[in-house]
């Protein structure tokens, strides 16, 4: 699914969640909510789950992620 930059900025994605911590910046985030549930804590910055909480951290993660050249899918 193609996401526009605008939707990534405001959407329900890890990069906009209060639980997000940097991990392999800016591609992934480390989610302590998932870690406490013993799920894989390292997920894509565009991932989201039911625990998602909208609390923008005013950080550059998404902007920097969007600036990075993306590999084209084969």
């Amino acid at each position: 699914m193609h996401m526009t930059r605008t939707s990534q900025k405001t959407g329900k994605i890890c990069g906009n969640c209060r639980y997000h911590n940097t991990y392999d910046y800016p591609d992934s985030v480390f989610c302590f909510a998932r870690f406490t549930e013993r799920k894989n804590p390292v997920v894509s910055i565009l991932f989201s789950c039911d625990e998602w909480e909208n609390k923008l951290q005013e950080c550059n993660c998404l902007d920097d992620y969007n600036k990075k050249p993306k590999k084209k899918a084969k």
Binding site: N21, T22, Y23, Y25, F30, F32, F35, T36, C59, N60
Partner: protein, 324 residues
């Protein structure tokens, strides 16, 4: 009025200890106190019955003292380490692959916030390195909890368990484990350890989380203090670590025989960090006739100079047996 100030004479090839000797010849102000601190530390090192306790506060590990402290532990120039929890967390950040970076104090802190970078004056730490250390440490706590089966650990016992699981030879926690030097963290919960334990607790089944008993280290430290024939303290900063060492000396009715405090804190507000050593004599924490001095200096400058000077005096082959 019998000893005139001897003016310092410097030469291009002089060693650290030779510079300190020039400070001693001057005998004045901070230079004189630092020279006294070197003499006192040398006496501690050469006294086989002195237990040398390092009270460590302030961001000494992030700023670059990590390997020096680990080396001193291996040489048994430190017999007991009493530290803030934060200094050990920063040791573990590097032990788990993270770094502290040279930054600058004159920066846009909001910009750092936007990049998830934390600032300690002019040292930067990426949040990512904290997170990776947290992840590794939570998994260690899971493992330790499974091993200890609800038996409460002291902070010292916990540091031993963590030290046993590290591979980094430059780590303070690892070197203390190898040299059997105890590490006490009297304010452990006032650090990232609290959050690490919280995450571990939430991952654990009810009642299965690791128990750390904050009071359990008190009899451990008192036992060491009681068994020590003489007590020495080197304090960087002050705060809880300094008081823990001094209070153990008081509670065992001994008082410190040697005391070197390096701090920039002031005594006037009444806080312990800036209290003069003379003030601690009134409590019985330091003996009246103790070898003592307080160096008013950035510990990151004075402490390495002091250690380098004393290492030079002791020579390369010197290795203390350790006390008690």
């Amino acid at each position: 009025m019998r000893t005139p100030v001897t003016h310092m004479q410097l030469s291009p090839d002089m060693t650290v200890n030779q510079l300190i000797e020039q400070f001693k010849n001057s005998g004045s102000f901070g230079a004189g106190r630092l020279a006294s601190a070197c003499d006192i530390f040398e006496k501690m090192a050469r006294d086989p019955k002195c237990t040398i306790q390092l009270a460590l506060a302030g961001a000494m590990v992030p700023a670059g003292l990590r390997k020096l402290i680990a080396d001193m532990i291996r040489l048994r120039l430190i017999d007991v380490l009493v530290s803030t929890g934060a200094n050990m967390v920063h040791d573990l950040i590097e032990a788990t692959g993270g770094h502290h970076y040279k930054g600058h104090w004159f920066v846009d802190d909001y910009l750092l916030y936007k990049y998830h970078i934390y600032r300690i004056y002019d040292v930067f730490v990426p949040e990512e390195d904290f997170v990776k250390a947290d992840e590794a440490l939570v998994e260690m706590l899971d493992e330790i909890a499974a091993k200890t089966k609800k038996k409460p650990l002291s902070t010292n016992e916990l540091m031993g368990e963590i030290g046993a699981r590290l591979k980094d030879k430059n780590s303070i926690v690892r070197s203390a484990y190898e040299a059997k030097v105890p590490i006490f963290l009297p304010a452990m919960r006032d650090s990232e350890f609290a959050y690490i334990h919280r995450v571990h607790q939430r991952r654990s089944e009810a009642g299965e989380a690791l128990m750390v008993d904050a009071f359990r280290e008190v009899p451990e430290l008192l036992d060491i203090t009681s068994r020590s024939e003489r007590l020495g303290m080197i304090c960087l900063g002050g705060g809880v670590p300094r008081n823990s060492v001094q209070h153990a000396a008081l509670m065992t009715g001994k008082g410190l025989d040697y005391s070197v405090v390096i701090t920039t804190d002031r005594p006037e507000p009444g806080g312990l960090s800036g209290s003069t050593i003379e003030e601690t004599i009134s409590w019985g924490k330091v003996k009246y006739k103790a070898n003592k001095t307080m160096v008013i200096s950035d510990a990151l400058i004075a402490f390495p100079l002091m250690v380098a000077s004393v290492m030079e005096r002791l020579g390369k082959g010197f290795h203390r047996k350790g006390s008690p």
